[in-house]
């Protein structure tokens, strides 16, 4: 259930929730309230002035209507002047400065983020370059090893071939020598056999004969 109270605002009687009034209604109601208050205040001030007159010079904390009105006037004029020419513009200036600072801060943060990004990119590039250099060095090392291995293998092959040839030559020479020895032995045996047949041999002669034959072979 809602109720319109004095045309000022609408209020739900159960929940006591209200909606704000319009600016026009608000100003009108405030003006009414202020004029009522002013009437009441003037009545009170007359009463206070009477009390003040009785207390004057006796009580240091007595109410001073003149001072109250003077203070109110001075304070309101001061407030209006400062609001218009000092504190109002200062609040705006502080807001402006705050906005500028925030914008500058945002720009700085963006620059810092960009710089960090750039640094990360450069670090990545550096790491890539290092990796590439490492790879090149590894490749070079592998190639060099391969070439060295090939050279060593070739050298070993050549050495083996050389050795084979030398051995073959030695074998050939040995074979030739043995052939010659065999031929000489055969002829010597034949010669020896001829001599044995010619004279009878006792064991001592036989041994001397063999020694002589060997010595001949050695001389030859």
């Amino acid at each position: 259930m809602t109720l319109n109270v004095w045309g000022i605002s609408s209020m739900n009687l159960k929940t006591f929730e209200t909606k704000p009034c319009s600016r026009k209604t608000f100003v009108g109601t405030i003006a009414l309230a202020v004029s009522t208050f002013a009437y009441w205040a003037s009545s009170v001030s007359v009463f206070a002035a009477e009390v003040e007159e009785k207390e004057k010079g006796l009580e240091p904390l007595a109410w001073q209507t003149d001072l109250a009105i003077w203070t109110a006037v001075v304070f309101v004029i001061l407030l209006v002047i400062l609001w218009l020419f000092a504190f109002g513009p200062i609040v705006k200036a502080l807001d402006l400065r705050e906005r500028n600072e925030l914008a500058r801060l945002a720009a700085t943060e963006k620059s810092a983020a960009d710089a960090k990004d750039l640094l990360r990119q450069y670090q990545q590039k550096l790491e890539d370059s290092e990796e590439e250099v490492r790879k090149i060095l590894n490749d070079a090392k592998t190639d060099a090893q391969k070439q060295a291995d090939a050279v060593v293998a070739e050298a070993r092959l050549l050495a083996a071939e050389e050795r084979e040839r030398a051995l073959r030559d030695i074998q050939n020479a040995s074979d030739v020598a043995l052939q010659e020895i065999a031929e000489k032995s055969a002829s010597l045996a034949t010669l020896l056999a001829g001599k044995i047949i010619k004279e009878e041999l006792d064991p001592a002669k036989h041994a001397r004969l063999v020694e002589n034959a060997i010595a001949d072979v050695a001389k030859q």
């Binding site: 240091p60 904390l61 007595a62 109250a68 400062l82 609001w83 513009p89």
Partner: protein
């Protein structure tokens, strides 16, 4: 203490309002303030106008310098800006909230510096006592906070909405709520009024009591003037204590201005964010 030489009435005249300036006797000047259109000017009125003029002279040029939004140059202007920024960022914004704070910041700055300079005026020799040592001044300042609070609250929540909003939200049966809520409303509204009365009385009591203690302390010197040996000792002790108390008064001047503004911003914040 010699009652013939000093009485509390005379002492009170040095810390309360009056229509004449008590300058030293050797100057031979007795400054009686004039009456304008039936209104007798008093020392407090003169001090208030001087304070207002000083504030305009300080803050209007400061605003002109800050208009560009660039940082200020010069120690003095930076000092003023430090005050303003501290009050705004550390007191007003936390109390009222970022969204609404800037609407009330000029008023609260004005209240703070007006109270501060009025408090400090009491420490300036022969300038007159602090206007904040008068109930009329502190009441008007508290009333200004009250009016700002009520008007801003009613503007935000509507006239009925603001007053109804003084009652905390409670899930009560309708019959009980009709009985309890009006009682709570009366208590809350009385609390609202009392808070502002206390705001005025707190500032008044602190400033008046401080100045009165200082005056009494110095009054001991006059009270013992007829006994030379005692007078020497009492004078030294009184002057030393007065210097210490003046230091304390200097601190109290800032503290009370801060408390007045701090409580005002809290009250306004409470009106902007109801139960």
């Amino acid at each position: 203490m010699s009652g013939e030489l000093v009485n509390m009435g005379e002492l009170a005249q040095h810390v309360s309002d009056g229509s004449a300036y008590h300058l030293p006797e050797f100057l031979g000047v007795h400054l009686e303030l004039p009456t304008i259109c039936g209104l007798q000017l008093t020392r407090f009125m003169v001090v208030e106008v001087a304070v207002a003029a000083l504030m305009i002279l300080l803050f209007v040029p400061l605003a002109a310098k800050m208009k560009s939004g660039k940082p200020l140059r010069g120690r003095f202007w930076n000092l003023l800006e430090v005050f303003l920024l501290y009050l705004r960022n550390e007191v007003i914004v936390p109390s009222i909230g970022k969204k609404d704070a800037d609407r009330f910041t000029p008023f609260l700055w004005t209240v703070f510096f007006f109270v501060l300079f009025c408090n400090l005026a009491g420490l300036v020799p022969w300038f007159g006592a602090s206007p904040t040592g008068a109930l009329a001044t502190t009441s008007v300042l508290a009333l200004s906070t009250f009016v700002i609070l009520i008007c801003s609250g009613m503007k935000k929540f509507g006239i009925v909405g603001f007053w109804v909003g003084q009652v905390p939200h409670m899930e009560l049966p309708l019959a009980l709520s009709i009985f309890l809520k009006p009682m709570l409303f009366v208590i809350e509204v009385l609390g609202l009024l009392i808070k502002h009365v206390v705001l005025a009385v707190r500032l008044l009591a602190n400033m008046f009591a401080g100045h009165l203690v200082l005056a009494v302390m110095l009054g001991f010197i006059a009270a013992t003037a007829d006994k030379f040996a005692l007078w020497i000792g009492v004078t030294c002790a009184s002057v030393f204590m007065s210097v210490c108390l003046n230091m304390l008064e200097l601190f109290v001047a800032f503290l009370q201005a801060y408390i007045f503004m701090f409580l005002s911003s809290i009250f306004i914040g409470m009106a902007q964010h109801q139960h």
